[in-house]
């Protein structure tokens, strides 16, 4: 945004006039921006935790938090935060102290670092890296390492089991996630988040041609965040709390914050790549300059879309049953990965050879599926005949 860039440039000019090396104002600007992002994460996570309790309550025909703060218990998250701050900090006796303390930091750092390339509004990205989406995927793979560190250093069998399952799940679901994201990248021709949103101008959101990729991405995103139905690593009824069972007080709060921050990040990626980002109807407000009005409306639409997707995630959590760990891995490798590959191939073909190739693809696809179906029916017939005879 021009106003913010002008502000930063004047700061640089002033400090250059005073003879201070450019690193000092750069660090000041970076600290302020990081502070704003951390503040947003804290407030948004508290809101999402309250919202999740309300949604789960209403789906289960009860009320949820109603007392703390008066109207529908809106201050419940604040009360929970204060409680977690005041709890005793327990480190298990034989735990590896350094790794135990480092693990929540790694997980939260990875969650925070993903906010660098989120396109909040036109011109309102912390840094529009030209490898934007690849950067976000790399950072999310960093969080998995923190989970393993947490599980191992707790000196607890259930933690280690939960950590290994979580790592296996995250690593398996990363592959179809990356492949499904490559569809919009191929159409837009760039990995920069700003350009990906710009490429969806005129209402041509990528969700329409890439509906398959969007569904695959959303499923993999649910698995990356360890949300139900991919809840095995944190299954409260199975593994106690999985990898963070030995963490109490503020350390647990950091894991919790990081999980909700991650939820927002994956929703933001889905909105930016598939649902048109910050694009939406906007009007000129009489008092404000045009650019500021555009930014405010863009921010509004972006947040509305993100929180809608988060609502769908929470809705799914309280509606679907948990998948067993082998069903989970089978879904990733046997179902989502072939679908993601097929989407990539068809997208590439259509981009190079034009839309009429779709008719050929659909025709060939129908023929192949019919052949496979007939072959399976024939082989199951032979199996039944052999069982009847022998």
């Amino acid at each position: 945004m021009k106003m913010l860039t002008d502000l930063v440039n004047t700061l640089y000019a002033i400090t250059a006039a005073w003879g201070i090396p450019w690193i000092i104002p750069a660090l000041v600007v970076m600290s302020i921006v990081a502070g704003i992002v951390v503040g947003y994460i804290a407030v948004a996570s508290m809101f999402m935790i309250w919202w999740e309790r309300k949604i789960s309550a209403h789906i289960q025909v009860r009320f949820g938090p109603m007392r703390v703060g008066g109207w529908h218990g809106w201050a419940q998250s604040i009360a929970d935060g204060i409680k977690l701050l005041l709890k005793e900090d327990i480190i298990p006796a034989n735990a590896d102290k350094v790794v135990f303390v480092l693990a929540p930091m790694v997980v939260f750092a990875a969650a925070l670092a993903g906010y660098v390339t989120i396109p909040w509004a036109p011109g309102l990205i912390v840094r529009d890296l030209n490898i934007g989406i690849l950067y976000m995927i790399s950072i999310s793979s960093l969080a998995v390492v923190g989970i393993i560190m947490a599980g191992w250093s707790s000196n607890n069998k259930y933690s280690v089991l939960g950590a290994m399952r979580s790592a296996a799940q995250a690593v398996s679901y990363e592959v179809p996630l990356v492949l499904s994201l490559l569809g919009p990248v191929m159409i837009a021709g760039s990995m920069s988040m700003g350009k990906l949103v710009e490429a969806q101008a005129g209402g041509k959101w990528f969700v329409f041609p890439q509906i398959v990729a969007f569904l695959v991405y959303f499923t993999c995103a649910l698995a990356e965040c360890n949300r139900l139905p991919f809840d095995i690593p944190e299954a409260e009824s199975e593994l106690v709390a999985g990898f963070h069972v030995e963490y109490s007080g503020m350390r647990f709060a950091i894991f919790f914050l990081a999980e909700y921050a991650n939820m927002f990040t994956v929703a933001a990626i889905a909105v930016a790549l598939f649902l048109g980002g910050w694009k939406g109807p906007w009007i000129l407000v009489p008092g404000l300059p045009e650019e500021v009005a555009h930014v405010l409306f863009g921010l509004f639409w972006f947040l509305v879309k993100c929180y809608f997707l988060i609502f769908v995630m929470m809705w799914l959590r309280w509606t679907l049953a948990r998948l067993r760990v082998d069903q989970l891995m089978g879904l990733a490798w046997k179902v989502l990965l072939p679908i993601a590959f097929a989407n990539l191939i068809v997208t590439g073909l259509v981009l190079v050879l034009g839309l009429q190739i779709l008719l050929y693809v659909i025709g060939i696809g129908i023929v192949v599926l019919a052949a496979v179906g007939l072959l399976r029916r024939a082989s199951s017939d032979t199996v039944r005949m052999q069982k009847a005879q022998g």
Partner: protein
């Protein structure tokens, strides 16, 4: 001493310190964690060299894949809940000789200079350049590496199958 040079020295020191913890550490899990830091330091050095795509892929593959694999191997072989395995080293003399040889070679290379390497071309975006190069000029090595990875995967599946 420009700011970039200072940042480079800091990152290089950080990477070398992490690598030293990996090599000299007594606790194998801490060594694996230090390996993560050294990979991240390498990625930061790639960013300093304007190879941003390579830096992101370094984090994605090395940290997000290889260190997780290493940690899995440590956890599955040390036993769940047991104290982490001690690090043993029988080949100190041989490795010292190899290390000194490598150091002499690297110092000679950096002092004598290897022509164009000393001035990397400034590309606006490395990803399209890499993509084009991998699929046109270097298509054969690309395919050969893919076949190598496929062979490794098949080998792993066969080794891991229950007979």
């Amino acid at each position: 001493m420009t700011i970039t040079l200072a940042i480079f020295y800091f990152l290089a020191a950080f990477t070398v310190w992490a690598a030293a913890v990996v090599v000299f550490g007594k606790n194998i899990v801490r060594a694996a964690v230090a390996l993560i830091f050294s990979f991240c330091g390498m990625a930061a050095l790639y960013v300093l060299l304007d190879a941003e795509f390579l830096a992101a892929v370094q984090v994605l593959i090395y940290v997000g894949g290889i260190t997780i694999l290493l940690l899995f191997a440590i956890m599955l072989t040390s036993g769940i809940g047991a104290k982490a395995a001690k690090v043993v080293n029988d080949q100190v003399l041989l490795s010292v000789v190899a290390g000194i040889g490598l150091l002499v070679g690297l110092i000679y290379a950096s002092v004598a200079g290897i022509g164009p390497v000393s001035g990397p071309p400034r590309l606006p975006e490395t990803a399209p350049f890499l993509g084009k190069a991998l699929l046109t000029t270097y298509a054969l090595p690309f395919e050969v590496v893919s076949i190598l990875l496929l062979a490794a995967m098949i080998g792993a599946i066969i080794l891991a199958r229950k007979e």
